[in-house]
Symmetry: C2
Subunit: 389 residues, 2 copies
Amino acid sequence: MTTTVITNIGSLVTNDPALGEGPLGLVGNAALVLDGETVAWAGPAVRAPAADHRVDAAGRAVLPGFVDSHSHLVFAGDRTAEFNARMSGRPYEAGGIRTTVAATRAATDAELSANVARYTREALRQGTTTFETKSGYGLTVEDEARALRIAAEHTDEVTYLGAHIVAPDHADDPAAYVDLVTGPMLDACAPYARWIDVFCEKGAFDGDQARAILTAGKAKGLLPRIHANQLSYGPGVQLAVELDAASADHCTHLTDADVDALASGDTVATLLPGAEFSTRAAWPDARRLLDAGVTVALSTDCNPGSSFTSSMPFCVALAVRDMRMTPDEAVWSATAGGAAALRRTDVGRLTPGARADLTVLDAPSHVHLAYRPGVPLVAEVWRRGVRVA
Amino acid sequence: MTTTVITNIGSLVTNDPALGEGPLGLVGNAALVLDGETVAWAGPAVRAPAADHRVDAAGRAVLPGFVDSHSHLVFAGDRTAEFNARMSGRPYEAGGIRTTVAATRAATDAELSANVARYTREALRQGTTTFETKSGYGLTVEDEARALRIAAEHTDEVTYLGAHIVAPDHADDPAAYVDLVTGPMLDACAPYARWIDVFCEKGAFDGDQARAILTAGKAKGLLPRIHANQLSYGPGVQLAVELDAASADHCTHLTDADVDALASGDTVATLLPGAEFSTRAAWPDARRLLDAGVTVALSTDCNPGSSFTSSMPFCVALAVRDMRMTPDEAVWSATAGGAAALRRTDVGRLTPGARADLTVLDAPSHVHLAYRPGVPLVAEVWRRGVRVA
């Protein structure tokens, strides 16, 4: 393979404490050697081995590409009017998720795929090199399977979320809908998905339903993750730990027992500040989780209803300002944390053997992602060793 | 002159209620005709007059270029370590403004000018077509005049802020520093500036000092504006109205009498949410000001200490989420509001005779600036009729 050395890196985030300072494994005046699609070496520039090509980072910061472990990109339509009314304090008969379900069912495969491609490109330009995405706006056997087939054209991290809400068609018989989700819909969807997810919340699925759904998914070889404790206290987080889910997502309303459970298990707490931002909700308490030793990830929750941002840098800035993470913690959670929430070790770090997925910032340090909020600082994005944005 | 019609505009913000719906003068399915540097016509696409050239906006939204009426771009150095310590809860001997004063004094003219150019370009890519910028990191006769001379190379909206803080060299004789600011420093600076500003705050300049400074500036033909009521209650806002300042900036701590004064005069209240974001301070109450009939502008306050963002879209999103402005109000305040805060009628609107300064969003509506926070939505920027970004 051809090797490339990126040198004159002002500050390199490796996420390997053995390679540099602190949990981020920070190296100043650094270099990174890529061998094809893979990181071959990371360390001080003065010690960098030779390579076929040389790229000068001009003192800029380099960090692993963001890993966005929670998004809902297979949808059609938008909900501008609903958002505008909510933020303007005007009454509005909001259809919520149902509005997007209707628009998504009515869209063609090509329209849905183009939409996923559009938001993927948008996220890539902002430094996201790995992303998970979910179904959940189809809610019939055919529409859920279609959503996952389309998602799988764009990413390996595909999540079956037939249990997003009870399908409008089954509103008066939720038990029958759970049977569908755990039966024929699961059969149709499992071939396209790595993960199974459920929205465990009042008005969506209760703890028993969520357990049934995730357990059925596990039996089909899917790995569990869960929307838990977003809008109210509930059983989701402890269920996630009990089932060894990779991640409990949202975690806005947590009891001490929830925090203890997360700290004792291998389930990552994935925080989605875009959702609290766009719904004017109270912030999850990241500080409490971190201080208890919980592994925290940050993700966008990109969806047209409650969090229509694709920007991981924006989520980092919110996490620091409003969830009291330090800039270092937020950057770790948006990279290595996201990888942990997807049980991946090949991304979210820039260490020998990892995928050469990285972001060059137009700034000397990763701290600038919080210090310069809203500013598009991502100057270059490399994926699998190739400069793609 | 050559004329250009931009047609197939999904939604056009004119900021002229006579041209369209509401205070934004919104026109759906719109066209805009430019004649050289100027807007010649705005209205429904089906009624657009012919032009020499035709540009298809492909259904995207068009709005006036942002008018950023408050920034501090003539500086050197950065304060990453101070920001990082503040947000991480670590003790840090912060030099604050003094740190930047020392770095700015030590910089060459070329370094300072390059810095202004860099942040101006960055802001332009985010849709800012008019910006004000200040001195205030020199604090000697020579360094203040130099800052303004450099600022004037980049913008017409130049503000003399010798009264940013009492210069460290005069720390034990503030009265002598006020004499300098209103005497030799003013004489040296007035030729380069349109505006005079003062930071009226405990620890900076009190009401009497602020009145003396602004009054001296007015006598030299400078127009007053003021940093008022940012960190605490104080006399700044009422002084601004008394002196017919164009703008009272920050307005975070207001009494009912302050709000009444603003509502009764022609002084704009300029809110700077980037500062509250980056210092974890309480938000100004935009709703209260708007409901009282005060004219509100939004601006970045871009500076390396308390608000290192150049992003007007980010400020719009914060204004909606955290200051309870509607998306329409926030967009108006970031365009027409900023123009009012600079007493300009030629920018901040897209009406016949106005400057052809505009932004094309990669979105169907201006609401997306708040609905899609953090996402770089600015697809094109036109200044004086020329596509520049």
